[in-house]
Every structure is written in C-alpha cells, then in structure tokens.
C-alpha cells in the first residue's frame, strides 16, 4: 500500500469545516516555503461536527514518518501525506487527549532533543563512565 496517498473520505466535507482548514494549511505551507515561518493550528479551538475530525485526518492521510513520545503520557507525532504538515496528538498518562494540533513546519519542536535534557544526559553518561571506571579498578585490585 502506498502510504503517501491520502485515504479519501466517504462523505466529502459534510459540514464545511474541513475544506477551509485545508485551505488554511495551503496558506501556511506558502509561509513556510517563502518566509520559513512555521504555523501551529490548535484543533481544540475549532467547532467540528461529529466525524469531521476523522474526516480531516483521512483527508491529510499518513506520510513517511511517525514518532511516539513517552513523556507524561504518550504523544503521536506523524507527518501527513503532505510533507511539512504534521499531525501532533498529546495524551495524558490516562490515555486521554490533552492537545491535538496540526503543525506546518519542517520538524515539530518537540522532536528536537532539548538542551536541558542533553545536559542532564551528558551528566548521567559521565557518572556512569566514572562508576564503571571505579568498578574496573576495584576488580583489578587497584
């Protein structure tokens, strides 16, 4: 199956909320390409009719890349069939959705390793290396 192809909705744009949003995404892609300006759309603020969110998800389809983040609950970060358009869904530890966004960007910020985490990781690695050094010395009877 070619995952780049969006799955077509059986009821095309039934209440009229999906089509304007797709147009907004095209404008956001223009800004990304021409001015390098990313956009994030918070889907919680839009008055979707029943089924429209699924319709939007189907219209955007699945792209080549998806990632799962495990921090304070799971998050799904998935590129849609349209490069530069990302579906980002945050869940809490109970599995409930706490945020759902469409990000029009080269890569969502949350995918990047954060400086604070890099620094903490470096400290952990150093500590682990020192511990293993001490252990080796102990075993060698030094």
């Amino acid at each position: 199956m070619n995952t780049k192809q969006p799955i077509r909705s059986a009821i095309p744009y039934s209440r009229g909320n999906v089509k304007p949003l797709l147009n907004e995404i095209i404008h956001a892609l223009d800004r990304l390409l021409n001015d390098d300006e990313p956009t994030a759309i918070d889907l919680a603020s839009l008055p979707f009719a029943p089924g429209e969110l699924d319709e939007l998800e189907r219209a955007l389809g699945h792209g080549e890349l998806s990632a799962e983040l495990d921090a304070l609950g799971k998050s799904l970060i998935r590129e849609t069939a349209y490069p530069g358009v990302w579906w980002v869904e945050h869940r809490n530890t109970g599995g409930e959705v706490v945020g759902r966004y469409i990000e029009i960007t080269r890569s969502p910020e949350i995918l990047m390793s954060q400086d604070a985490d890099i620094g903490a990781g470096r400290a952990r690695l150093r500590e682990s290396l020192e511990d293993s050094g001490h252990q080796s010395n102990k075993e060698a009877g030094k």
């Binding site: 603020s45 008055p47 983040l69 998050s75 809490n92 409930e96 945020g99 604070a116």
Partner: protein
C-alpha cells in the same frame, strides 16, 4: 515562612524531561485558549511559578461541580492537585473532618495570607443562617472569614455565580451569589450546571502561569470561554441559516442533525464554550447529542421559562434578544421564530 518550590523544580525532582515539560506547556496553552505560539512564554512563566494555596468551600450545592472537576482530563486532577495547586481544604475530598479540617483551613489561611485562592461552589442562604452550616459555622460566616486574606475568589457553578437552583423562584432560603456578598476582592464567575471542568482548571492555570486573573465579561465570566454564544460556534449553525430545523425529537430534522432552535435551544443567548471545548474529554456536547442547550451558564436560567419553549416565545430573555437571533438567521430564522411562537401558543392552549 515555608519555602514553596517552583513548578519547574517540582517537575525536575519528579524526573520529568524538558520534552515532557514542553508538552505540559502545550496542553496548558490549549487549555487557556491561547495560540500555540505562546508555548515558550508559558514555559518560562511556569518554570518560575509557585503552587498557590487553594481553599475550596462548598455551600448550598449538589457536588456536581466537584464531580465535574474530578472528571477533568486536562490536566488530571491528580496532576492539578500535586503539581499545580496546593488544595489545602475541600471538605468533600479531604480525609480530615471536624475540628481537624477546620484547623487545616485556618493553617492554610495564616501561612498564605494575602496570596491564596478561595473557590466556592453553591449559593449562600441569607434567610436563616441555620439552613446550611459546616462544623456549626454558617455559610455566610465561613465565606466572609475565609475571603478576608484571599488574593481572589472563584465562584464555581451557576449556584455560586448567580444563585442557581437554590435561588430559583420562590427562593425559600434567600440564596445569594458570592458576588452579592464579596465586594472587596476580585471575583471570577465560572457558571454552568455544572461548569466545563477545563474552564475551572483554565482559571487556576491562568493564575498559576501569569499570576493574574483572566479578563472578564459583564457577568464576571472569563471572556476566553464566555466571549461567544453557543450558537456562534455551533456546528449546526449552517442549518439555522438554511432554515432547516428539527420540529420534534424524532422527526427527519432530528435524525439529520438539523438546528434545534424550534425545540427550545438557548444557544443564541447563552455564552459558553461547550461547542468547542466540549465534554467528557472532548467527546461531544448536549447539542451534538441531539438535545437543545438549556442556557445553564446564564444568570437566572431556571426561572426563564420552559427548557423546550423556543426563544421566539419570548419567555427566555427579552424580545430584543430574540430579534437578534432571528435577524442572524435572516428571513428563514424569522420564519422559524413565527412558527415557534405559533407552536408554543398551541402547546400553551393544549397544556
């Protein structure tokens, strides 16, 4: 005075990564109805935020507002209590009772004098102080004593905000709202029967994040959530414009999800965020389930006529408001208004 750790310090001590924190901030931005571009600013503010002490007082109420909050998913109540606020007194939820509970309230007041938040659900009976007491203290005395050292008061639910069902005609207990009594502290009203849990947590999150209360409308409600009517944001609004209405709960219009105006929907004159924030972790809201909006976040909604009487009968709100609704629906809406009046007249005659 005890040192209160910042939220950043608490999360760090719990081993929450920076990514996790950014996710928390994104959820908070969504909760506050702020654009995602605000996330970095929220992150900076939350890192330095210190947990405010919260005292929750329950008066003439049904516990529906607490039930609403304890089913809130964004953020979880557990997270809210342990990470974002210090809930020092809530006589329904706390383990302590009697003197020990009252001692906890007084301790929280003394330790956080001038900076704690008071949340109130339920109205206050003024006809006789004995109508509602806690540990032998009348609701009025407990409210006035507790708010004295508070930074602000949040009235949760329509009873605390406007008197609610205890205040409905004939109001046997002489029930009044928090705002009727508290004049020298900022009072935020979060009405609804019950209020949307996310809106309750959003007010707390706003105070936590920016150290100030949200902008309010004429009735003291946060404009971020009460700035537009249910009708303005309703996904069935296009059917109103087209003049397509459900006439009964089992007709073709009802099955096809048409506008519920003729079945008494109060959406055109009700300011709330149900149509966008929705209920049960964003599952749906009453209109999406096929039931008209009752207008529960408006002052005195219990006394404004039948829930199923169309607005066009003029019992709910003024004729001017109805005219506004009909104008919005152009000629078709006006046609619906006339038809609604006829139908109501028929019901009245038959009833």
């Amino acid at each position: 005075m005890k040192t209160i750790p910042t939220l950043g310090e608490i999360l760090q001590a719990q081993g929450v990564s920076r990514r996790g924190f950014m996710k928390y901030c994104a959820a908070t931005a969504s909760l506050l109805a702020l654009p995602p571009a605000m996330v970095p600013r929220i992150a900076r503010a939350l890192e330095q935020a210190r947990r405010p002490s919260v005292i929750w007082l329950s008066f003439q109420e049904c516990t529906g507002c607490t039930e609403s909050l304890t089913r809130s998913s964004s953020p979880t109540l557990e997270g809210l209590i342990f990470d974002s606020i210090s809930l020092d007194y809530h006589h329904t939820l706390q383990a302590a009772s009697g003197d020990a509970a009252e001692a906890a309230r007084h301790a929280a007041m003394q330790e956080n004098m001038g900076s704690y938040l008071v949340l109130v659900d339920g109205s206050i009976p003024m006809a006789n102080p004995g109508y509602s007491t806690i540990a032998g203290i009348s609701n009025y005395d407990m409210l006035m004593e507790t708010v004295e050292g508070a930074a602000a008061v949040v009235a949760i639910g329509s009873c605390a905000a406007f008197g609610g069902i205890p205040g409905a005609n004939p109001n046997p207990t002489g029930a009044v709202s928090v705002r009727d009594l508290v004049k020298d502290k900022p009072v935020v009203n979060v009405p609804g029967c019950p209020p949307i849990p996310m809106v309750i947590t959003a007010v707390l999150a706003q105070f936590l994040t920016f150290g100030r209360l949200p902008d309010l409308d004429l009735h003291g409600r946060p404009t971020a959530f009460f700035g537009q009517t249910i009708h303005d944001r309703c996904y069935r609004r296009p059917f109103y414009e087209q003049g397509r209405f459900a006439e009964t709960f089992d007709d073709e219009g009802a099955r096809k999800g048409w506008c519920l105006f003729k079945l008494g929907c109060k959406g055109p004159i009700t300011y709330n965020a149900c149509a966008t924030v929705k209920w049960n972790a964003g599952t749906s809201f009453p209109i999406e389930s096929g039931h008209p909006c009752l207008g529960c976040s408006e002052p005195g909604f219990w006394d404004k006529g039948g829930f199923y009487a169309p607005l066009s009968t003029g019992k709910f709100g003024s004729g001017g408001k109805l005219a506004g609704a009909a104008v919005a629906g152009v000629a078709l809406g006006a046609g619906a208004a006339v038809a609604g009046r006829r139908r109501q007249a028929k019901y009245t005659k038959e009833g």
